[in-house]
């Protein structure tokens, strides 16, 4: 039980007349990499937005470490988020992108942080993600991989318990994606931090996750390890959306390789 960091209980979400989620319950394990996978409009981003606190469930509770955070403000949840395209502040260099939150937010005792404390923390984080050479660069001057690291560092600096990712790679080339995935996986291994990752890309979910939550039609179709999803799909949708898709991909690759040989 100790290992559960978040549990969502009977979450419902309606936007005016449209229901997006119906009686959704699930738990997130401490330190795991969980992907929310599903076709667009299945509610995966809504779950993310509720976890971060910019959207509220119509009913149901969100419990974090035994504490009800359903109504807690985003800044007090200790959850970080990385957006699509990373949304770095373009007019600030790497250092200030990371330190901005520390300069604005008071510490646990409600005191303003000292400049030395901020500097120490920021430099530590910069080292952790390996950006020492780029401290004074603006986001425009960074490669996509470096931008991703800054975006993660920006959330890390507040010691979050969980980092959420909102389809951070959906706009990128296939080639870069592979590199970024690796990088992300390494950071997670190193920090052992809980990560929740929203994607509509089956491959991506399989490459990254400890567990995958497949969403469809207002509810969770299956929440399981990649192995089980593939070998024991819970229903026809999961089979079609996950298993068949991956099979098809493998098959088409095999065929094109064969053609080459012939």
């Amino acid at each position: 039980m100790d290992n559960v960091i978040i549990s969502c209980v009977d979450i419902n979400k309606k936007f005016k007349t449209k229901t997006v989620l119906e009686d959704v319950s699930f738990e997130i394990q401490r330190g795991e990499f969980l992907s929310l996978l599903g076709p667009s409009g299945c509610g995966k981003t809504t779950i993310l937005r509720m976890l971060i606190g910019i959207e509220k469930p119509s009913s149901g509770r969100i419990i974090k470490d035994g504490e009800d955070i359903t109504d807690t403000a985003p800044k007090d949840r200790n959850i970080g988020i990385v957006f699509q395209n990373y949304s770095l502040f373009p007019n600030m260099d790497v250092y200030h992108n990371i330190s901005y939150a520390l300069q604005s937010k008071k510490d646990e005792n409600g005191r303003k942080r000292s400049q030395e404390e901020i500097d120490r923390k920021v430099k530590g984080i910069i080292e952790t993600v390996g950006l020492e050479e780029h401290v004074y660069k603006r986001p425009k001057q960074l490669s996509v991989g470096q931008q991703q690291r800054v975006a993660i560092a920006r959330t890390l600096v507040l010691n979050p318990d969980i980092i959420l990712f909102d389809e951070p790679m959906s706009a990128l080339d296939a080639e870069i994606k592979v590199v970024l995935r690796q990088q992300l996986k390494e950071i997670q291994k190193q920090l052992k931090i809980t990560m929740v990752y929203v994607t509509h890309d089956q491959e991506e979910a399989f490459a990254l996750s400890d567990r995958i939550m497949v969403l469809n039609d207002l509810r969770i179709a299956q929440l399981d390890t990649p192995y089980n999803l593939y070998h024991h799909p819970a229903d026809a949708f999961v089979k079609r959306f996950v298993v068949d898709h991956l099979d098809l991909k493998v098959k088409s690759i095999e065929e094109s390789i064969k053609e080459e040989k012939a």
Binding site: D71, F83, S87, F89, Y100, K105, E133, R154
Partner: protein, 856 residues
């Protein structure tokens, strides 16, 4: 629970602000119109319906407005297109010249036309030529002149953001300029054109300044309105006329509302330019400037005329008297009034418009749409109508609001709100929408995000908005005329005062003062914008860390190794000043980029080397597929790069130079007699080969396409350069560059230079840089080059290009290529057999030499 409350409170506070700003628009822009409507009675309607004067005014207004709007839109389109597609320098200057008319009150255009053409006008006095300018001709001329600047700006802006892709395609397919104009430009601009036409129409239709001076007996609608209010005191009838005045504006507004969003997917820059039409363009534009500004010029010249029209002698008297003028509260006081009003309006207006933009774009919900619609609707209200509405609505607040400068600031703010609001909205919608959410999760407030992220990213837009409010407040007459008092009236109103006692000279002097102040303001605003843009660009492209000087210094140290370097020696070797040399050593030492040893020796440090790493040349791609037919008969047996000159293969000179600088990742694209290249492996084991089987079907672009994935921080070299100075190859390169040697004259490919960058690339030229086929591509430009090469190659006829024509000509707008200077003798070009014999006489005896002109 407490948390929840504060969050709730904060949300509420934001909504309160939003509701207050909606209330402001309702109160200061919409309510005045409604007040007007209350004046209208049934009798007024029946009177107006039968009033011949009213219908004549409508007919007159429609006729002259229609004609003028068509002419203006056509002129604006042609000039915007010419300017945008020319490769003229300092285009901003042309824009400023073409829009000079914006800086003077429209009334002076009417006056100017009379001074030029009318009875006792310049033409009459000088040539006895008197034209009946009052009435339709004058109205149309005046309207074109005053509405041109705004219309031009709309179209110029629309053209500026046109997608350049189709133009690239067209130019590669060899489609002519006229044809692209009609088949690409006009269809693309369709919506912008109609929108510009409407805007122009609205502007003219509601203008009062021109007709006042030049309409003669041809009364227009605004004049009818003015008469009803000011002479007949028939407020109801005047109000009806006011509402009719709104109609074109409303149509224009609705049109924009429906279509604007469809065309707003703006691409970044633009149609390719061509130098061929520059002269014609300059001619047309200058002529247009002169014609458009002629009446104002004539009018302003009266400032220096003794007593028009009786004594045309030159004098400074009027100007000299400016500060001693005691008319009313004194001229200087009016100048001060004007500046104060313009400043306050600009500050209040810019803040308010930016806030509205923020509320409509960066916050969601129904309220956002309400803000948007209301803010946009202010565009449709003519100043004249707004001013009269204010009289009725605010008369009761005399002394606290009415009759103070505050009401002038407010009326101007709402009169001019539309355009700056659009600027703000456009700018804010382009800024990533996730910042506020990120702020929330990081505990950074919305206010802080506005202050630290949004505003720093919209500085140039803010300056533009400020400038718009300022300049317009300086020249406006319409609304302010009804609301200012004896004490606080601005300069522009003074023109109408002097009008009453026909004091041409003073009217002219006042126009001149306004023009002068506005030109100064305009220059200041432009300078600020340029500065801001430059700063942004610098931090965007520079940033890789080192200045050029630091780079030169560190690479110099790296190359020459540990040693004693006096300041003098450094200054000489690096061609910098002594003080710079001193500073360089100190600053790089402070950053630990260099080590200064106890015995005074200097060397580059580990950290310095590491910092240079981004600049290190990673590899070289050598294009060696061609046949080299001009070197026949030698090349019948051997590919040109492998031909020996004085016992050394031509290509070895390049490979040796590369190896000497540690660049061993070398790829040779080969084609003609490719197997012969294998012999190179013996001496240079690290080179790799890529075969281009198409070498004899396509131009050298096909060779580079075969190696395209390798392009990254690399040299791209031709294979037939006989290099005598291996130091033209560097271990590090600062930026993307192309090697060139300064020559007085050449018939080879050469660059012309502008600001240190390649400007034009052509065959033959004087006082230019002869191009040598060695170029370096940094990371960023490599990506650009790859994508452009692929694009061009995929187009019809694309394979016939030389690869370097892609960055140097076809897509040159995408690149800023430095010219890296070398000496002409650093490379010997062996272009034909005769030149070969000149370098290596032994070839005179080559079998078949005589046939190819190689007699010994």
């Amino acid at each position: 629970m407490r948390e929840r409350m504060t969050r709730h409170d904060r949300l509420l506070r934001h909504e309160v602000l939003r509701i207050i700003s909606i209330g402001c628009i309702l109160l200061f822009a919409i309510l005045p119109l409604l007040t007007l409507a209350f004046n209208v009675t049934g009798k007024d309607w029946t009177f107006i319906a039968k009033d011949r004067k009213f219908w004549a005014a409508i007919k007159n207004s429609l006729t002259y407005t229609g004609a003028a709007a068509v002419i203006t839109t056509a002129l604006a389109l042609v000039s915007a297109y010419l300017l945008e597609t020319s490769s003229l320098r300092k285009k901003n200057l042309y824009v400023i010249a073409l829009t000079l008319g914006m800086l003077v009150p429209t009334i002076s255009v009417g006056l100017g036309l009379r001074v030029l053409f009318g009875a006792n006008g310049f033409l009459d006095l000088l040539f006895g030529l008197e034209l009946e300018v009052r009435g339709m001709p004058g109205l149309i001329m005046g309207a074109v002149m005053t509405s041109f600047p705004a219309t031009f700006l709309i179209l110029y802006d629309a053209l500026h953001y046109e997608d350049k892709g189709p133009y690239d395609a067209a130019s590669i397919m060899g489609i002519g300029r006229l044809s692209t104009f009609f088949r690409l430009t006009i269809p693309y601009l369709r919506i912008a054109l109609i929108s510009a036409f409407f805007a122009c129409f609205t502007l003219i239709f509601s203008d009062y300044g021109i007709p006042m001076e030049i309409a003669g007996k041809v009364k227009t609608l605004p004049m009818y309105l003015y008469d009803q209010f000011m002479s007949s005191f028939q407020y109801g009838r005047g109000s009806i006329a006011g509402f009719v005045l709104l109609i074109p504006a409303v149509i224009s507004f609705v049109f924009d509302l429906i279509f604007k969003d469809q065309s707003s997917e703006k691409q970044n820059r633009l149609i390719p330019s061509s130098a061929g039409f520059n002269r014609a363009t300059v001619l047309v534009l200058v002529l247009l400037c002169v014609l458009l500004f002629m009446p104002q010029l004539a009018f302003i010249s009266l400032s220096f005329t003794k007593a028009f029209p009786n004594d045309l002698g030159f004098t400074f008297e009027h100007i000299a008297n400016i500060f001693s003028n005691t008319h009313g509260v004194g001229l200087t006081a009016y100048i001060f009034n004007s500046l104060k009003l313009a400043f306050l309006t600009a500050i209040v207006g810019t803040c308010f418009a930016y806030l509205l933009g923020y509320f409509s774009v960066r916050k969601s919900g129904r309220l956002a749409k309400v803000v948007d619609l209301l803010a946009l609707s202010t565009i449709a209200i003519p100043g004249l109508v707004l001013g009269i509405g204010y009289i009725f609505l605010f008369k009761g607040t005399n002394g606290t609001f009415y009759g103070t400068i505050l009401i002038l600031v407010v009326v101007n703010t709402f009169h001019f709100l539309g355009s700056p609001y659009l600027l703000a909205k456009n700018c804010l919608s382009k800024i990533n929408s996730d910042y506020e959410v990120i702020g929330e999760t990081l505990g950074i407030s919305r206010g802080k995000i506005i202050r630290n992220v949004l505003i720093p990213n919209s500085v140039s837009t803010l300056v533009e908005m400020f400038s718009y409010f300022f300049l317009n407040s300086m020249i406006t007459i319409s609304a302010v005329a009804f609301l200012c008092t004896y004490d606080n009236q601005p300069l522009s109103i003074l023109i109408t005062t002097y009008e009453k006692n026909s004091n041409y000279e003073m009217q002219s002097v006042i126009s001149l003062i306004i023009l002068f102040l506005n030109v100064v303001a305009r220059v200041v605003f432009t300078a600020i914008t340029t500065l801001v843009n430059r700063k942004n660009n610098q931090s965007a492209e520079g940033g890789i860390g080192f200045t050029r000087m630091e780079f030169d210094f560190l690479t110099y140290l790296e190359k020459n190794g540990k040693g004693v370097y006096s300041q003098r020696k450094l200054a000489d070797d690096l061609t910098i000043t002594l003080s710079n040399a001193t500073r360089l050593v100190k600053e790089t030492a402070d950053h630990d980029y260099i080590n200064i040893l106890p015995d005074g020796e200097i060397e580059i440090s580990e950290k310095g080397l590491k910092a240079l790493e981004p600049y290190r040349v990673r590899k070289a791609i050598i294009l060696a597929a061609g046949f080299g037919q001009r070197l026949a008969p030698v090349t019948l047996d051997t590919p040109k790069p492998l031909v020996k000159v004085n016992g050394v293969r031509i290509l070895d000179t390049l490979l040796d130079a590369l190896y000497a600088k540690g660049i061993k990742n070398i790829t040779i694209v080969r084609g003609y007699k490719k197997e012969q290249f294998d012999q190179l492996l013996e001496k240079y084991p690290t080179i790799r080969f890529i075969d281009n089987p198409e070498f004899n079907l396509a131009n050298n672009i096909s060779s580079l396409i075969h190696a395209i994935d390798l392009i990254d921080r690399c040299y791209i070299c031709e294979a037939d350069l006989y290099i005598t100075n291996p130091d033209i190859i560097n271990k590090y390169e600062y930026r993307t560059n192309y090697l060139g040697a300064k020559v007085a004259e050449t018939d080879d490919w050469c660059f012309s230079k502008r600001n240190g960058y390649v400007d034009d690339y052509q065959m033959g030229g004087t006082d230019c840089y002869q191009a040598f086929g060695i170029s370096y591509w940094n990371g960023e430009d490599s990506e650009r080059l790859k994508s452009d090469l692929r694009k061009v190659y995929a187009m019809r006829g694309g394979k016939e290009n030389l690869w370097e024509q892609v960055p140097l000509r076809i897509m040159k707008k995408n690149y800023k290529l430095e010219i890296r200077k070398c000496h002409k003798s650093d490379i010997i070009e062996i272009d034909n057999f005769i030149e070969l014999i000149a370098v290596d006489p032994s070839y005179a005896k080559y079998p078949g030499a005589e046939e190819y002109g190689g007699r010994s």
